[in-house]
């Protein structure tokens, strides 16, 4: 791939990327969230078309017209977000788009079954039945189905986009064995991750992306990890996590044996004013559910929680899903900011647009939001600037407790640093921050205390000085082996 470019509206996702992958190697593609890794791979696998640049596969020009064409060329992709149809069975999902047909377009399930079973066997999960509906599978099992989909059919290049983000340690190791075997078969694997430990373990060479550009590449083991991290973030580590001194005060939120209807089993903790409290854990461990119960979006089915701060609205939630839930993407910055707390704008029964504008402008200046003005639709902004407005909404509402779900997801490094600094400043102002993040360095960099959630149970909180990335990961994944194959509960 040479000089590949891709823009979405005003956002330049790829600004000239070079990538070279050799046959039979595992090539790590490294970069922060929003660096353009996923976009680059979507271009490679035919889901997006590049605006400029060229690609070659086995010496000849390669321009996939779509995902099916890419697959015909031997390029298969495992996406980061699960891309399964929940209403279809495992088998139907694995063969979706290239089913074997009998007469009259009949689904020839019998002919498709052996390959599915072989793939699941290869992943050492013959316990997943081909006819089970995907909606009845656990997250980990779904990820494996996704891998199985890529294995069925001949792949010359296999792209794995953070395939382990929801896998247990045991499943991750199994996956690595599969990757090894594929490499021995001469398959090129492009492995996307921001877990550098994983990359060291599995990859032969690496390429680092930052802000849509290639900033370096090399052989794993020849370059120090610290150097790779600096390539990723474009600055030294001290600069990434600016420390704002703050001190914990009285208890702001207390939860005791909290249970939720779905994933949350048992959470007890105390959150103090002026404290940043981190919650680590795997995707699907129940962290988001905890925040949603605390915000009152989901009723608690057991246990208690109470806000001790005296405020009409004690808490505010920053959603992990900015596009779908966090923001009303078609509305303006001002409308988004004052959504849910329009009292200050009222003049009798009327909303004052002038007041909204001036109020929004204050926050734009305060948080250094890069935008055209308060009336701009928020969808035009970059992820980082959107997130600042989402933060500003909580601050505008004046809540004493902030529940932050993946606060820097899809945010560029520059904005991340600003958000970290903001979080520190808020703690210094006496706000209480509960932060859920899947990015461990972030939790270690900004939190005062961290607890790990594992299968709905929140572990004990520890001062950050006692935590290591390895230790947290260990705690988050311990004994998750049998998570799989939770076959349909209703059957």
């Amino acid at each position: 791939m040479r000089g590949v470019r891709k823009a979405f509206g005003p956002v330049q996702a790829l600004a000239g990327v070079d990538l070279e992958v050799r046959p039979g190697e595992v090539h790590a593609l490294i970069g922060e969230n929003g660096a353009g890794k996923s976009t680059l791979m979507k271009v490679l696998s035919g889901a997006h078309r590049a605006d400029a640049g060229s690609m070659q596969l086995d010496g000849s020009d390669y321009r996939p017209s779509g995902p099916l064409d890419a697959r015909a060329h031997g390029v298969a992709m495992i996406y980061q977000e699960l891309t399964l149809a929940p209403h279809l069975s495992v088998l139907e999902n694995i063969w979706l788009g290239r089913e074997k047909r009998g007469r009259f377009g009949r689904m020839d399930r019998k002919a498709m079954r052996p390959a599915v079973e072989a793939a699941l066997e290869r992943l050492e999960h013959p316990d997943i039945r081909p006819e089970t509906l995907v909606s009845a599978l656990s997250t980990g099992a779904r990820q494996l189905v996704e891998v199985a989909r890529a294995l069925v059919g001949e792949a010359k290049v296999l792209v794995m986009d953070e395939p382990t983000s929801s896998l247990s340690r045991k499943d991750t190791e199994r996956l690595f064995q599969v990757v090894q075997r594929l490499r021995e078969d001469g398959v090129s694997v492009i492995y996307i991750s921001h877990f550098l430990e994983e990359v060291e373990e599995i990859a032969d060479r690496f390429t680092v992306l930052r802000d849509g550009e290639t900033v370096g590449s090399g052989v794993i083991g020849e370059v120090e990890i610290e150097r790779i991290i600096e390539m990723m973030v474009g600055r030294s580590l001290d600069e990434v996590f600016p420390q704002v001194p703050h001190e914990a005060g009285g208890v702001a939120l207390r939860a005791q044996g909290l249970r939720g209807p779905r994933l949350l089993e048992d959470a007890s903790f105390e959150l103090r004013a002026g404290e940043i409290f981190g919650i680590a854990g795997l995707v699907g461990a129940g962290r988001t559910e905890l925040l949603r119960v605390l915000q009152g979006l989901v009723p608690a089915t057991g246990g208690r929680f109470e806000y001790l701060a005296a405020a009409k609205t004690p808490s505010g939630l920053l959603s992990e899903d900015r596009k779908e839930e966090g923001l009303a993407i078609n509305l303006s910055l001002g409308e988004n900011l004052t959504l849910g707390h329009a009292q200050p704008l009222l003049q009798g029964p009327w909303l004052s647009h002038a007041r909204r504008r001036s109020l929004t402008q204050t926050w734009i200046d305060e948080l250094a939001v890069r935008c055209a003005g308060p009336d701009q639709p928020i969808g035009d902004l970059s992820g980082g600037n959107q997130q600042k407005i989402a933060f500003a909404r909580l601050l505008h509402a004046g809540v004493p407790v902030l529940l932050l779900d993946e606060p820097t997801r899809g945010v560029d490094v520059g904005s991340k640093v600003e958000i970290y600094r903001l979080m520190g400043k808020l703690a210094a102002q006496g706000k209480a921050l509960l932060v859920v993040s899947s990015y461990l360095p972030e939790l270690l960099g900004v939190c005062d205390r961290i607890a790990v959630m594992h299968r709905g149970v929140l572990g004990p909180a520890r001062p950050v000085a006692e935590c290591t990335e390895h230790g947290l990961l260990e705690e988050a994944t311990r004994g998750v082996g049998e998570v799989l194959a939770a076959t349909e509960t209703a059957r």
Binding site: A85, P86, H87, E99, R106, R149
Partner: protein, 326 residues
């Protein structure tokens, strides 16, 4: 219910997905059987109800595909009227009934094709695209018929819908058997063909289907053509029953068809839907209407009841989903 009681029911796996509408239908049957024991379950009345179900039932077969794909077709009532007018016009010109039927079905297919093209190629959402077709098809029907009914000999098409003894097979009118046959056939298509699988995949997760190389646009076009064909067929049956092509027939019928599919357990969000359920839904509504007539319950009560049943069916379905997720 626990696993043991379930396994003791041999047909349970086949029945489970349509247990809701089946239970609803049995309730309605039981209620009116209790109120009107002689008339309600008489062979004569069953024949009446079965014929009354044909038109909504045929529409519901096509609509199940549309709704399972996450779409909606509001034009089906108008398409039924247009197809009946076209069939009548062809009959009036002296052509063979077979040709009338084919003309009616083709009319429906063309309407469906236009719907599909507008949705898949112009990117207009199904609600709007088919709302447009609802007006266009109705207008064209009135135009073709010069805003009058077209009186024409329906030939053996009339016999299809006839309850007279000479035209019955095993006690039921021919059209009822035709509907049942098509329901079984299309039920197999939905569950056991690539087209059916792709329909559910698009309804379940359209982006995924596209990523996996499903030709989403083309599949959608087929789905709307299919729905149009069934609308056309329902129109031909309407012509057979009335022996006139009436441009003002089937006004609001699209809502009955959608209601049947929804009562049958399909989700308007897509990914779910069963032909058997939809047919049960259509039967439920037909029996309810019939039972109300027999017992002298006024029309407005019937409308209220149908409204309540639709909402209740969906509410029960939502509740079941929530408990399944927990």
């Amino acid at each position: 219910m626990n696993a043991s009681t379930r396994s003791s029911l041999p047909l349970w796996p086949a029945i489970r997905p349509i247990a809701g509408p089946l239970l609803g239908l049995l309730l309605v049957l039981g209620l009116f059987w209790f109120l009107e024991p002689d008339a309600f379950l008489s062979a004569r009345n069953l024949r009446t109800v079965s014929v009354q179900t044909v038109i909504v039932g045929l529409g519901a077969i096509g609509m199940t595909f549309v709704i399972a794909s996450g779409g909606i077709d509001l034009s089906i009532g108008s398409v039924i009227a247009l197809a009946s007018v076209v069939a009548a016009a062809v009959a009036k010109a002296g052509y063979d009934p077979m040709l009338c039927a084919m003309a009616g079905v083709a009319t429906g297919a063309v309407c469906g094709l236009v719907n599909g093209l507008v949705i898949a190629r112009l990117g207009v959402i199904p609600f709007i695209a088919t709302l447009g077709m609802m007006g266009v098809a109705r207008g064209v029907a009135k135009w073709l018929a010069s805003e009058q009914k077209i009186d024409a000999p329906a030939g053996w098409l009339e016999n299809l819908m006839s309850k007279a003894e000479d035209y019955r097979i095993l006690g039921l009118p021919q059209a009822v058997w035709l509907t049942l046959l098509l329901a079984i056939l299309l039920g197999l298509v939905l569950r056991h063909t690539v087209l059916g699988s792709h329909t559910l995949a698009i309804g379940s997760n359209e982006d995924t289907a596209r990523l996996c190389g499903v030709r989403v646009g083309r599949t959608k076009i087929w789905i709307y053509v299919l729905c149009g064909i069934f609308g056309g067929l329902a129109g031909v049956m309407t012509f057979g029953r009335l022996t006139v092509g009436d441009p003002t027939t089937a006004i609001g019928e699209e809502l009955d068809v959608i209601a049947a599919v929804v009562i049958g357990g399909a989700s308007l969000a897509g990914g779910e839907g069963r032909i058997a359920g939809s047919i049960l839904g259509a039967l439920l509504m037909a029996f309810l209407a019939n039972g109300c007539n027999l017992t002298g319950v006024p029309n407005y009560v019937q409308e209220i009841l149908i409204g309540v049943i639709i909402v209740a069916a969906v509410a029960v379905d939502r509740y079941r989903h929530r408990t399944m997720e927990a």
